[in-house]
């Protein structure tokens, strides 16, 4: 990710003022405000979250106050079936969305990278789903997918697939998660396409020319030149997608509320349900802490991959 040369400079000292000596300190001053801002912003809520997660604080029972109860919430969490089910759903949701979105995003980027007239316009139009507020899209899809009154249901019906509409797309545990995955892919694929297109544009034309002279066909070009060269861009977009999807909440909450049953209750929804809906701040915070930990581990894994890639 960082490719800049190391800051060792071997420049002659010029002028009365020494710009280099100044820069030794100035470099810290430049970074300080942002760093302080970020660190305070992380430490304060994280500390508060950790503390809350070790208390019994419930806004339903404010009369009981806030008592320190050590790791009790975590002990309870480890025995909580709903938590494991939620963890599993989150994993399925995150992995499925990220992989479909990445494959689709890369395909779109490749498809729209052939220097054909109109390509830029198509790419731009495809960006729109990414730019609309997620909660608007959530309602839009919820209404579109509704049986009878929803336009998607009516179209499927017209195609003779009334099996689907009769059971209701978001109303059946069999199809709800799949529908949510597709909607999130729809929303996020333009971002992936954009990052990968960026990567594709860095590949010098000469490499392809040389390879063609050597008799490589299209598939070989893709397999041995294009994909390896955009691997880093793909990795970055997959990383951002994973983080984003892992904490995705709004569209899920609007479209299914975590239902039917528990079938779409990802961690973010479970945490909302406990921490905000039932106002059990203590227990909700412990779920949040675990969620944070999982996300942190995932990002360390990605960071390793990316550092390896960058070296």
């Amino acid at each position: 990710m960082q490719t800049g040369a190391s800051p060792k400079m071997t420049l002659p000292h010029v002028g009365v003022l020494n710009p280099l000596r100044g820069s030794q300190r100035v470099k810290y001053w430049l970074a300080l405000p942002a760093f302080v801002f970020i660190i305070i912003g992380i430490i304060y809520p994280t500390g508060y979250l950790l503390y809350n997660s070790m208390t019994n604080w419930s806004l339903t029972r404010l009369d009981l106050g806030q008592t320190f109860i050590g790791l009790d919430n975590y002990v309870k969490l480890l025995a909580d079936e709903r938590f494991y089910s939620s963890l599993g759903i989150t994993a399925t949701f995150t992995i499925a969305t990220t992989s479909i979105q990445t494959v689709l995003g890369v395909s779109l980027a490749l498809l729209l990278n052939r220097n054909i007239r109109g390509e830029g316009l198509v790419r731009t139009l495809l960006l729109i789903p990414w730019l609309v507020a997620p909660f608007i899209s959530g309602f839009n899809f919820r209404f579109m997918m509704a049986p009878n009154i929803g336009v998607i249901a009516q179209m499927l019906d017209a195609l003779g697939l009334d099996v689907i509409t009769k059971t209701s797309i978001l109303g059946s545990p069999k199809t709800a998660l799949g529908a949510l995955i597709l909607v999130h892919v729809w929303n996020g694929v333009p971002g992936t396409m954009l990052v990968v297109t960026g990567g594709l544009k860095t590949i010098p034309e000469e490499i392809y020319l040389a390879a063609r002279v050597d008799g490589a066909d299209r598939l070989q070009l893709l397999r041995y030149i294009t994909l390896p060269l955009v691997r880093y861009a793909i990795l970055i977009s997959a990383f951002l997608t994973t983080l984003f999807i892992f904490k995705a909440f709004e569209m899920i909450f609007i479209m299914t509320g975590g239902g039917p049953g528990d079938s779409t209750e990802v961690l973010a929804v479970y945490q909302y349900w406990v921490g905000i809906r039932t106002l059990n701040i203590g227990y909700g915070s412990s779920i949040a802490v675990v969620q944070l930990l999982v996300a942190f581990i995932v990002s360390i894994v990605y960071a390793r991959l990316m550092f390896n890639e960058a070296e």
């Binding site: 806004l59 009878n148 299914t256």
Partner: protein, 435 residues
């Protein structure tokens, strides 16, 4: 010199209005039909009381589920008056966030004129002034009910005349009679989204069986009992004769399907009438009947019904509680109640009997008279008044398990057992019952 005079004048100008209205009453509420109707009176009342006012209207779910509880925890004095439902009274009283109306001149509220004012009583005191009374009942299609062919066919099949559903059995017969999925018309639509709406049918069916979900005094839970399981079996039956839209329907979809004319009936709150009869938005305007929840088949002694009541309450963090109370009196008096019905876009389902009977109000909503008559003998059922019931049982345990149930993932027995176990756990954790 000139500058000084101008400065003085400016100060005077600024000071004048400040002097006239040095008290500001802040009202916190959700946005929505009935809160809008309440706030519509705020300006007039502020003038009458001689205060300034500030209205904070927040999105409904957030207001009652997270913002007001947070304010009650922080106690920053954000609101003088908070608009809340009765189900949340125990929670906010436990937090010592509300002032009892008994601290003020409660007679100024004309309490005898407030329908079901007794429900706002908790620990021996009253905590809010009823503004909206919403009754659970059945919305049904009168045009179909009165259709001669349908009447004949119904008589032939069931052996009695088709009329407004006065018992659980009559209602179920009608749902079955009008359920014609091949024609794209359904016996009923229900709310099925995993959210609070899903509780409506479950609660209503308890009352149609003449039982409480849980006893307010003994906290005995009536879910995994014969009646409780019968309720779930009924639910299964109704969802079996329901519009497929039911399985994902929230408030919006449920009402939209019904008012689009796709379903014979809908068990819901009477506030749907506020727009269900509006010809601009409803295909069945003028053809909707409303029946307060019917009795169970076996005659029981006390007819029961279910009521949602919302109203303004006084915050204990208010710096001017007396002015706030005066404001409260004005906001909820008969005049304000009538204006809330007549002068707002969608109106209100008023709590004051004098408003229900008011001619101007009835001119807009003729069904107000039916309600005024219907509630006379009504025995309102109550859910346990403990803080956990509103947020944890109705907010989480019921919607989640009912959602699992109607999606066919669990049986009647499993659902009943799970709901009971989860409620008992909450009651034990709260220290209400022994381990």
């Amino acid at each position: 010199m000139k500058r000084t005079i101008i400065l003085l004048l400016l100060i005077l100008l600024l000071a004048l209005p400040a002097q006239a209205q040095d008290v500001t009453i802040s009202i916190g509420s959700e946005t929505g039909v009935h809160a809008d109707a309440l706030i519509a009176n705020a300006e007039r009342c502020a003038m009458e009381v001689g205060v300034a006012y500030e209205a904070h209207q927040l999105p409904p779910g957030e207001w009652i589920n997270s913002i007001l509880p947070t304010e009650a925890a922080v106690r920053s004095g954000l609101y003088d008056i908070a608009y809340i439902p009765i189900s949340k009274i125990p929670q906010f009283v436990a937090a010592e966030y509300l002032l009892p109306l008994e601290d003020f001149d409660i007679e100024a509220l004309d309490p005898d004129d407030l329908a079901f004012f007794n429900l706002t009583e908790y620990e021996g005191k009253h905590w809010l002034v009823p503004w909206l009374n919403e009754y659970q009942g059945i919305l049904y299609r009168t045009d179909l009910l009165n259709d001669a062919d349908e009447q004949a066919a119904f008589m032939e099949e069931y052996g009695y005349a088709l009329a407004a559903p006065r018992s659980r059995q009559q209602y179920f017969d009608q749902v079955a009679h009008f359920h014609r999925p091949d024609e794209g018309f359904y016996g009923n639509i229900a709310y099925g989204l995993r959210a609070g709406w899903i509780n409506i049918l479950h609660e209503a069916l308890h009352f149609m069986h003449g039982v409480d979900i849980a006893d307010n005094d003994t906290l005995e839970v009536n879910v995994n009992t014969e009646a409780g399981r019968a309720v779930l079996a009924d639910m299964e039956m109704l969802y079996g004769m329901a519009d497929p839209a039911s399985f994902t329907a929230g408030w919006v979809e449920g009402n939209a399907n019904f008012t689009a004319g796709r379903d014979y009936s809908l068990v819901t709150w009477n506030s749907v009438l506020l727009y269900g009869n509006d010809p601009e938005t409803s295909a069945v305007a003028g053809n909707i009947g409303f029946q307060l929840l019917p009795l169970p088949d076996d005659e029981i002694e006390e007819p029961k019904g279910f009521l949602s009541q919302w109203g303004p309450a006084l915050s204990s963090t208010s710096e001017n509680p007396d002015k706030a109370f005066e404001m409260l009196v004005c906001l909820t008096n008969t005049e304000s109640g009538v204006l809330g019905v007549t002068e707002t876009t969608l109106g209100n389902s008023p709590a004051r009997i004098s408003v229900l009977q008011d001619e101007r109000a009835q001119a807009r909503f003729p069904w107000l008279g039916d309600i005024a008559a219907g509630i006379q003998g009504l025995n309102i059922i109550s859910t346990p008044s403990i803080p956990e019931w509103g947020s944890m049982v109705r907010g989480d345990v019921l919607p989640r398990n009912l959602s699992i149930f109607i999606s066919g993932e669990s049986t009647v027995e499993e659902t009943a057992a799970t709901i009971e176990a989860e409620i008992l756990q909450i009651l034990r954790d709260g220290g209400y019952i022994e381990e």
